[in-house]
Amino acid sequence: MKQRTAWLLVLPMVGWLVFFYLLPLGAVALQSFHLVTPDYEIGKELTLENYRRAMNPDYYPVLLRSASYAAATTLACLVLGYPLAYFIALHGGRHKSLFLLLLMLPFWTSYLVRTYCWMTLLQTEGLINTVLFEPWLGRPLDMLATDGSVILGLTYGFLPFATLPISVALERIDRSLLEASADLGGSPLSTFLKVVLPLSRPGVIAATLLTFVPAMGDFVTPELLGGPSTITIGQAIQEQYLQLFDWPFGAALALLLMVLMLIGIALYLRLSGSERVLA
C-alpha cells in the first residue's frame, strides 16, 4: 500500500516526462526519417537520406567549432567559477545567501537582453572601445563577431550554472576535514589540492556538464555576438528549421548531436570515474 502511494507521487512527473519530453522527442525522431517535399510538406516514405546528408563534411568544421566554443566556455567557467564558489561557500559567512542571490540576479533579466547589452559593450563605438582601446591603441578593436566574443558571451551566460554546483559541493565538505588536514601538517595550498579539490569533484563534474552541454547547442549567443565565421551547430539546426524549412533534416542533425553528446557524457563520466561519486 505504502509502495503504491509512493508511485502515485511520481505519476505527475512521469506524465510530464512522457508528454513534454518523450513524445516531442519521439516526434522529432520519427520526422528525421522522412524527406521534405518540394512543397515543404513532410514526405511519407521512410529513408536514411537525412542522416546520409548530415555526414556532409561541411558540418565537420561547424561541429568542431561548437565543441571548441563549449570546451573553452567550460574551462573559463570553471576557472572563474571555482574561486567564486570557494569564496561563497567557505567565506560567505552569514552573507552566503546574499552572495548566491547576487549570483542569480542576472537571471531576473532575459538572457537575450543581457546578451544584447554585451553587443553594445563590445561594438566598435561601444563602451570598452571608447574607454579602453581608443585611448590606449588609438583605434577601436573589432571585438564583435569573433570567436572571443562568442566565448565571452557563453561564459557570461553559463557562469552561474558552473558556480552553483561547485559551491554546493564545497559547502558539503565537512569543515573538520580541513582542520584535520591542517592538523596533519597540510599547508593551505596542500589542503586545497589534496582535500578540497578532490572532494569538490562531484560539483566540478556537474558544473562541466551543466556548462558544456547547453553551450554546445546554444544558438542565441553566437547569433547575436558572433558573425558569419562563427556559425555553430545550434545555429545550423535552427537555420534548417526556421529559414530553410527542412524540419526532417534539422531533426536528423539535432538527433545526431544528441547521440554524440550522450556518448561524450558517458565517456566523460567513465573517464572521470564519477559514476560512483555521483551515486
Partner: protein, 341 residues
C-alpha cells in the same frame, strides 16, 4: 527596430490569449513595428473591435505557424512569394467584401501571385537594395559590386534571408534574380563563398548596425534603411544599377480565421487613404493606396527610401515563387552559411 527583428521573434513568442475567442476581436499577425502609431486604437474606436497583435520575425515562421495549423489568427501579413505558397497550401480564405481595390497603385494590381486579389490585398511595399554610409563609402555606390569590395572587409552586411542575398549575387552576376537554373545558382554560390570573408554579418536587422557604423555597406530593405537614415543622415540607399527586388507585404486571412468579418473590416479600414498614409508616415514604408500618396510626408516622395522614383523602380523585379527550384536555393544557402572562412 526592423520589421524583421531577431529579438522580436524570440521575445514575443506568446500566442494569443483567451480573449481571442471573445466576440469583436481581431488577432493580427504582423512584422514587429509595422503598423501606424494610432491605427489600432483608431480602428477600435471606429468599429468597436479589439485588436490583439502578435509579431513574427520572418516569413518562414509565419508559414510554419499556419502550416502546423495553429488556430487563432484572423489576419496575417505575407510577402508576395509567400502569398503564392500559402495559396498553394490552401491555407488562405478567399476575401469577400473588400472595397477600394481599384484605388491601388497599378504596379500592385493583379500581380501573378494572386491575379484577382482573391486571397490578398497589398499592405505596404518596399525594395531591396544597397545601403551605405557616405562617410566611409566613397564614391557613393550605385552597384551591387560594392558588397564584394575587399576594402570594406568586415564592414559589409548581407541579409539573413536567402531570397535577397542569393538573389543579390545572381543580379550582380547579371543573371535572372529568380533563376532556378543549377549553373546560375552554382555561380551565385561561388560568388557568395568568395564574399563571405568580407562579410561582417548575415542579419535581417541592419538598422542598429548602420546607425552605429558597424556596417559601411549593406544589402538592405528600403524602409529599414530609411529608419537608419532618420537617426544618422549619412546613411543612404540606392537601387543598384544591376537591379533590385521590389516586394509587397499583403494582408491575408487564414482559412480557419475565427473572426473573418473583423478581418475584412480591418482590411477595408487600412485601404482608406488617410489610414494608409498614417501607417506609411510611422513606419517609412510606402503603401499601395494611390490616393494616400498626397497625404504622406513629402520627404518620402521621390525618395529611394520611400516612394522610389519611377525610373528606379524600372530596374526592380518581384521575387517569384521558385517552385521546386527553391530546394536548389536552400542548398546554396546552407553551403554559404556553413562555410568556414
Amino acid at each position: 527596430m526592423s520589421r524583421r527583428s531577431f529579438l522580436g521573434c524570440l521575445a514575443t513568442g506568446a500566442l494569443l490569449s483567451s480573449c481571442s475567442l471573445a466576440p469583436k476581436t481581431l488577432n493580427f499577425y504582423n512584422w514587429a513595428n509595422y503598423i501606424g502609431e494610432t491605427t489600432i486604437p483608431d480602428f477600435q474606436k471606429a468599429t468597436g473591435i479589439r485588436v490583439n497583435q502578435d509579431t513574427f520575425s520572418s516569413q518562414d515562421v509565419l508559414f510554419a505557424k499556419l502550416k502546423i495549423g495553429l488556430e487563432g489568427y484572423d489576419l496575417v501579413v505575407a510577402t508576395d512569394y509567400m502569398v503564392r505558397r500559402l495559396i498553394k497550401h490552401q491555407l488562405l480564405a478567399p476575401m469577400q467584401g473588400v472595397s477600394g481595390l481599384e484605388g491601388l497603385l497599378p504596379r500592385f494590381q493583379h500581380k501573378p501571385w494572386d491575379p484577382e486579389h482573391r486571397f490578398s490585398v497589398p499592405y505596404l511595399w518596399g525594395t531591396t537594395g544597397v545601403a551605405f554610409n557616405t562617410t566611409h563609402a566613397r564614391p557613393v555606390p550605385d552597384s551591387l559590386s560594392v558588397l564584394w569590395e575587399p576594402r570594406y572587409k568586415n564592414r559589409i552586411g548581407m541579409l539573413n534571408e536567402k531570397r535577397d542575398t542569393i538573389g543579390a549575387a545572381l543580379l550582380k552576376l547579371g543573371l535572372d534574380g529568380n533563376s532556378v537554373r543549377p549553373e546560375d545558382l552554382e555561380r551565385a554560390q561561388r560568388a557568395l563563398l568568395e564574399q563571405k570573408p568580407l562579410v561582417r554579418k548575415y542579419s535581417t536587422d541592419m538598422i542598429d548596425d548602420l546607425v552605429r557604423q558597424e556596417l559601411h555597406v549593406a544589402l538592405g530593405y528600403s524602409g529599414d534603411v530609411g529608419q537608419a537614415h532618420e537617426s544618422l543622415p549619412e546613411v543612404g540607399y540606392v537601387i543598384p544599377r544591376e537591379g533590385g527586388y521590389i516586394w509587397a507585404d499583403n494582408l491575408c486571412i487564414p482559412h480557419d480565421a475565427p473572426h473573418y468579418e473583423a478581418a475584412i473590416a480591418f482590411v477595408n479600414f487600412v485601404l482608406k487613404p488617410e489610414v494608409a498614409a498614417a501607417i506609411t508616415n510611422t513606419v517609412g514604408y510606402p503603401n499601395a493606396v494611390t490616393r494616400a500618396r498626397e497625404l504622406v510626408d513629402p520627404r518620402l516622395l521621390d525618395n529611394p527610401l520611400g516612394y522610389a522614383p519611377e525610373q528606379m523602380l524600372e530596374q526592380t523585379i518581384f521575387q517569384e515563387d521558385l517552385g521546386q527550384g527553391e530546394r536548389l536555393w536552400d542548398r546554396v544557402w546552407e553551403k554559404v552559411k556553413l562555410h568556414s572562412v
